[in-house]
Symmetry: C2
Subunit: 314 residues, 2 copies
């Protein structure tokens, strides 16, 4: 099982640098006071395509050989990975094929087609998505890029944390949200590669707590009927991301829905940035649980900002 190293993350950073934003690290004295520690937010909601996934997808697509890339890339996705892969393919100048359930939010469909992807609609079931993708691949020969179970993608996602720890030395803690575990894995590898003493904490909705249960039980357990407002965190760990998280994480903190919405609104109101619910899960964890963050220097990855502005959860 191929697991990327700090060197892979550094190489990914070099490769994607001309194509993605070096996002700012935001601070907010009011939130510091409320939480009782020093917070440094890596604003990946300001990343291209509005999400950290632009990093992993771009790295994966730029890593393909000319032969692999020639027929384009493909995936099934209802959200951020679709738009990120479409952007990455447009950077490389190859076609992107996205199988997208008809239930996908209009704003995500628009973003994906805006980057020039060919969208194939399908029924909103995993079976229909996988069948649709198989047919697209059979027809086009496109290379499939998985949203998180891919060492090239994980190395790419890790570049956000690499920029964070380069910009802010001496972090005591780094938090990221956990869905399929791609962001958390890249974050852990980059952070521990640069600073072995920094503790890593994952944050997960209680309604989609497969990673919490998996780490507790010592084996990857899939989500069963996950339900959460944090629509980017519905997926389950893979063997690969489970292995990385088991190795690196201090713990996973789970949070309730109301706490996620409260934290999300706090970020909008106090920091003046648009984040999607998934991005607010680490702040919700900081507000709720005690894991030694008092007076600490804490890095937080704000994962993305793609949200339907006329359907806000408050």
């Amino acid at each position: 099982m191929d697991i990327p190293t700090l060197a892979d993350v550094r190489a990914a950073a070099e490769r994607i640098r001309p194509h993605v934003h070096r996002t700012p690290v935001l601070t907010c004295a009011t939130l510091d006071r409320i939480v009782g520690c020093e917070l440094f937010f890596k604003a990946e909601n300001l990343q291209r395509a509005g999400v950290f996934k632009a990093r992993g997808a771009t790295h994966a697509v730029l890593s393909l050989s000319p032969e692999q890339a020639a027929a384009g890339v493909a995936t099934h996705s209802s959200g951020n990975h679709a738009a990120a892969l479409a952007l990455a393919a447009s950077i490389r100048g190859v076609p992107a094929h996205v199988v997208m359930p008809t239930s996908a939010p209009p704003v995500k469909r628009a973003a994906t087609s805006g980057y020039g992807a060919q969208i194939t609609p399908c029924a909103p079931t995993l079976r229909a998505r996988e069948d649709g993708l198989a047919r697209v691949v059979a027809r086009t020969g496109a290379h499939v890029v998985h949203p998180y179970d891919d060492p090239r993608v994980i190395a790419g996602q890790g570049t956000a944390a690499l920029e964070l720890v380069e910009a802010v030395p001496d972090l005591d803690l780094v938090l990221a949200p956990v869905g399929g575990g791609g962001l958390m894995s890249g974050t852990a590898i980059a952070t521990h590669g640069v600073s072995a003493r920094t503790r890593l904490v994952g944050a997960e909705p209680a309604g989609a707590d497969d990673a919490f249960r998996s780490l507790q039980q010592g084996l990857p357990l899939p989500s069963v009927n996950p339900r959460t407002v944090a629509d980017g965190l519905l997926t389950s760990l893979s063997e690969r991301t489970f292995t990385v998280l088991s190795t690196h994480l201090d713990r996973i903190v789970t949070v309730e829905e109301e706490a996620i919405v409260t934290a999300m609104r706090m970020i909008w109101e106090r920091m003046k940035v648009v984040v999607e619910p998934s991005s607010a899960v680490p702040l919700a964890a900081l507000l709720q649980a005690d894991f030694g963050q008092r007076d600490a220097r804490v890095g937080v990855i704000l994962s993305g900002g793609n949200v339907q502005l006329d359907q806000l959860p408050w």
Copy 2:
């Protein structure tokens, strides 16, 4: 009439540096494509207190002699200047007295008292505000800081544009919203001081177009019953800001309410930042009028991000 120079803006920048954010310059490929030029947004919505006014207020308060500062500072304001002055006073460690109409939005009142200001409520008329302020000054001896008709305030506001033109050389155009003209004056002085060839354009709501009419008629004409969703731009130019704008501006573009809301939503959706309606007025101008911006390098000051999140204009 004391009008600040580039040297004053540079001195202000030195003085306030430890106390305010050096805000990021944001870019967005999608907006570049929509508008047809290269846009560089100076994100003052991410400034402390959520607004560029933290710069001018902090500079004014730090410029006071110990004797002037001893009794604290005072103003009347229903919004951003109140919070900014309260923040500035807390930085200096002196009291802030704010006369605030009972009609002020709860979020602004909370921000102002959150920074420790003494708030004196008054009726929502200019007369009641001025009377209230006179009484507060008589009682406390506090030093009054005007929101824009003050060379120290104007020099402070200019530091945002100074950072912008230092970070992004060779701008063809710089735009800012125009209310009382403090931000636009500071922006003009800093920009032309560094780059004489850069053209300056003010953007104003058609429903509060006193600056547009003033420049057209060649004398400062007050707003009469201004009405606009851009609640930060209701005020009228002073003699001082009129003089600066007459000297430096290429033109003022006025925009309708619907265009402001459309531009505001576009910034939230595409750039993932929370801006108040006033901040969106320059983008609305770019989308609506032709003043030679095609393919140009265009700087835009995003003035602030203080907005009531459960009363959005869409």
